[in-house]
Symmetry: D2
Subunit: 334 residues, 4 copies
């Protein structure tokens, strides 16, 4: 961290500031120039209150040099992290297709979808049991029963499972789930993240609707700081002023996250766009720009889905999309 002092700051004031920083365990490196004096902060500056520093009268500017995250940073861990669940791998050049319905609704539904997406090449089955809904009056998922049906689909198809958790008290119900998803609205539910840092299972962490990439990485850091290094990042669209699309899928997040972090990055085009017409285009674009995987909603009967039918592909649409995605991957890998 660098602190730039205003011209004409007295030596007294500089000494006082340096002492205050030393008391916090920070070494300083003073550089007196003809125009301004620069104080370089050396050591662990995580606990320095940047905004307080900025508010001091003698301070012209405070500038961070490094990033506040460590374990998820590529600087300290140059190789790609590869997550393995069953036969599926995510990251480090391994592309993973996750598919399934928004909500688990019945045994027949989840089995049919699971078998069809497997036949089309999906590696992991998704299905919501606990559903975060904006309205208290909307369908909230089959809850524990939904997880039981997912297990049945796993037994039949052999596909590993991913499902969303909303409450840390539900963790015992997720034993058979292979990847635990943290939804966009819980990305900064720090208590939940901390608990997930203590388990031994991959976590798929969705970017919040209005969270920066830095905040996404800080939330990954919460999980990793607890000891769980298996984190998958997920871009699912951000909130902007545009109203023709539900959210704005930020695909530049994919190469940017790859630059600064070693964690795999998956894209969810279904929630980002909210409409079937846009899902295939955005899925292909995600594959073209280097995503490590896709999470796509597929429903055997979208018109009667209890949740998000408008964004669910039919198994036939998914089958066609999966083949095109594989072809795009071949192009960009060649």
């Amino acid at each position: 961290m660098i602190v730039v002092l205003k011209p004409q700051t007295t030596q007294d004031k500089i000494d006082h500031l340096v002492g205050w920083l030393n008391n916090q365990g920070i070494q300083i490196h003073l550089s007196v120039g003809s125009e301004y004096t620069i104080i370089g902060l050396i050591g662990n500056t995580d606990k320095v209150d940047v905004e307080l520093l900025e508010s001091l009268d003698m301070v012209m500017a405070v500038r961070r040099v490094g990033e506040p995250f460590k374990q998820c940073s590529r600087m300290f861990h140059p190789e790609d992290t590869v997550i393995t669940v069953g036969n599926a791998k995510i990251g480090g050049g391994n592309f993973c297709m996750i598919a399934g319905p928004c909500s688990v609704e019945s045994e027949a539904q989840i089995l049919e979808v699971a078998q069809k997406v497997k036949a089309s090449g999906a590696h992991i089955l998704r299905g919501g049991a606990f559903k975060p809904r904006t309205s208290p009056y909307a369908f909230q998922g089959l809850r524990a029963e939904g997880l039981t049906l997912l297990s049945e689909a796993k037994r039949v198809t052999g596909l590993p499972l991913i499902s969303e958790i909303m409450n840390v008290n539900h963790l015992p119900l997720f034993e058979d789930v292979d990847i635990i998803q943290v939804g966009a609205r819980n990305m900064q539910n720090f208590d939940l993240l901390q608990e997930l840092g203590h388990i031994n299972k991959p976590i798929l962490l969705k970017r919040g609707l209005a969270n920066t990439l830095k905040e996404l990485l800080m939330s990954a850091e919460y999980i990793m700081a607890g000891g769980n290094e298996q984190v998958i990042l997920c871009e699912r669209g951000i909130r902007t002023f545009e109203t023709y699309t539900r959210n704005t899928l930020d695909l530049s997040a994919v190469p940017k996250l790859h630059e600064i972090s070693h964690l795999p990055v998956v894209v969810d085009p279904s929630h980002a766009t909210g409409e079937v017409k846009l899902v295939p285009s955005m899925a292909l674009a995600a594959a073209a720009c280097g995503a490590d995987g896709l999470m796509v909603e597929v429903h055997n009967d979208p018109a009667h889905a209890r949740c998000d039918g408008a964004q669910s592909l039919t198994p036939e649409q998914f089958n066609k999309l999966a083949a095109q995605v594989r072809a795009v991957l071949e192009v960009i890998r060649s």
Copy 2:
């Protein structure tokens, strides 16, 4: 809800759609015009999937007529809700000043601040015990001990307490807290909201950084749907593209919320701006535009605060501000 059909939609298709809606318990009111056919949906349309309707080929547009919230709507409850805690009242023309430190740090600190803000006219004492922090490496609050110190300050000063909850499992620790605060990052932690709907205590619900007023009201609805009607809304700044200020305080939310809801609206200028220089201006502006209260951070020694010192007023600054706020209130009430 109104569904507008495309010109040249066949009668067959219309019948099919009407049947599908009837099956969901919806009555319809068909109006065939020369240019387009309009279907008015009558009955409880909460569970109709708007996006699915929009995705049908025959549908030109779907337009909601009413709002998806009910209990917090002024349409169904025209009188202002007034919340009473101890001697303090919020709403219905009662202005409430909430003040105190970002974090409770020690007995001496919280007692000094509590006594001073009381002397300046504060009605309720705020103090954080569980702190949501973006970084896992930052100070996370004194937790249970912090709540004990708050109780002590309440015993000494008689001021009712407000403090933030982050995990529903902590609820037993909040017995002596008079108003439970849900922070911006948990505004859509629906499991937490549902639990708070079953207790008998006022909830101060902060607007999320990127949440619309409609979503804020839907989250209030989650609490009220459980039976707890004592909800206070809090505007605390939203995320925009501007970088000179930490957040953008959306003061037009105050009169707009008053128009559509009967719940009281409090403004937090400290978190919105993040810097002491801006807090008094924004506090006065909030009072001028009709807010039902202010929540202001006050610290006896901001330079050594363990959290958010840059945005904390000194007791002297708060004393001056409180007097000006009272004078502004007199003007707008006259």
Copy 3:
């Protein structure tokens, strides 16, 4: 347009409103339901003041059914518009690669870049002569001299030209330019758009940093309303809260614009991302999601470019990218 009246609106008030609308040349279609009364407005509602209607006490809601644009709408013109300049075609399945430096700097520079991008398969040469810069102290382009150098490059390579106009008084200087570009900051410079509606040359209209797709189409409508139907839309990134990337490239705009308009859509990954590392990924993604063309900055010596060197590919990087783009196009067309 549909106006929904509040329950209990008296017949007197309804008659008054209907009369007021009739006076504006609007026919109405009244539909009295058990819950609410709906007024359908028939005829040219372009001049009806929606916000005024909404502000009337008796009105619950006003909902637009159609879109305010006409000439650029696919509803009134189902076939794709194809723009032809020289041997290049844009739209209707024709993909067009536009490349060249941010600014024209010298004869040697523009000739070298033009010849190299042509060899790599570019169809049109871009080059800025008049540069909109945020700072009055930054390089503003070679202006008229820049256009002369572009003409020279066109003579030598045969590539058609595209260049940005900032002031309608400069139009005579653009005689040899084949496509006139309107920059993002001038997207709502309505006087400029109106003038460009009266010339007989294709216009590439960049989306403003904070403009919705609807506004982009309304600006296209300004040009088309004057008689010039040759408009190319360009997505170049929008402003969001994210700070790790310069702008957020909104690729879902591509399929969405194709759905509602017949105009071709080109993507500019260089300005959207602002850094070379992200340009190829975003260019490939744009091709994968159906863009009709790409506009990419290429400079023979980025380290010494007078403008936007950080986002300029070298000719070698462009050559590799162009080949990959062609391969992706083959996949999505198959």
Copy 4:
């Protein structure tokens, strides 16, 4: 400006970078620390390409120390600028009330409004002659005739005039206009700003819907760089994700702009909110947070206004508001 180099950067590379900077006329101040090497850039760094520097492999971070604007900065001009037109003063403790219709529509209309707002204490008359409209099919203003009618109102009432310019070629028509307004959509029409830098009249510069305060000040700098130092800044609402209000009025911009610039800051609550119900609240809030003036739309017959009737106060509403504003000003000045 400060450039932080990555650890292990070789001396060769450092020398090369320093040479490259020296060639641009920049002096450097090298500071080699144990963790990283810092290069301080001394001299005029306006033309240094920050993004190019950031893209160099050896560079960890580039941080601006100062601001890119100079003439509008309070650092170089500590005293408030006061603008005088006729008997009205804006800035430096002088509060100015600007009022009038959105569009000039007829002699009777403008005279009636002008006389009434004058009687209520307005200091300056506003009225649009050239209107920027999103749709080419909407009323575009009376143009030259509107300016003639404004002159007539000025002659009758003695009120100075403000009106918006959209095209620099119209400047000769604005001879009798006292303050020239640049609208939000033209805030970065740099050619227009440059021309207005050469005239001797105050310019009211509206913040663009999605422009940062820094960009607003850079646009003011464009005008001042030409020699015209009479610039008034105007906050009129920014674009956010919120849809219940037309724009989000950013009132924290008022004290923030006062901190960094000496230019007066006026607030337009009419365009920001778009509805009469919100205008008085936001006007009072603006006065309470230190604005130097208000610009409010007033129409003698809002229901028949040709433009923006929904946001126009009646003269009676304005009269009441003006009195309340004066009372709030007394409070905050005491």
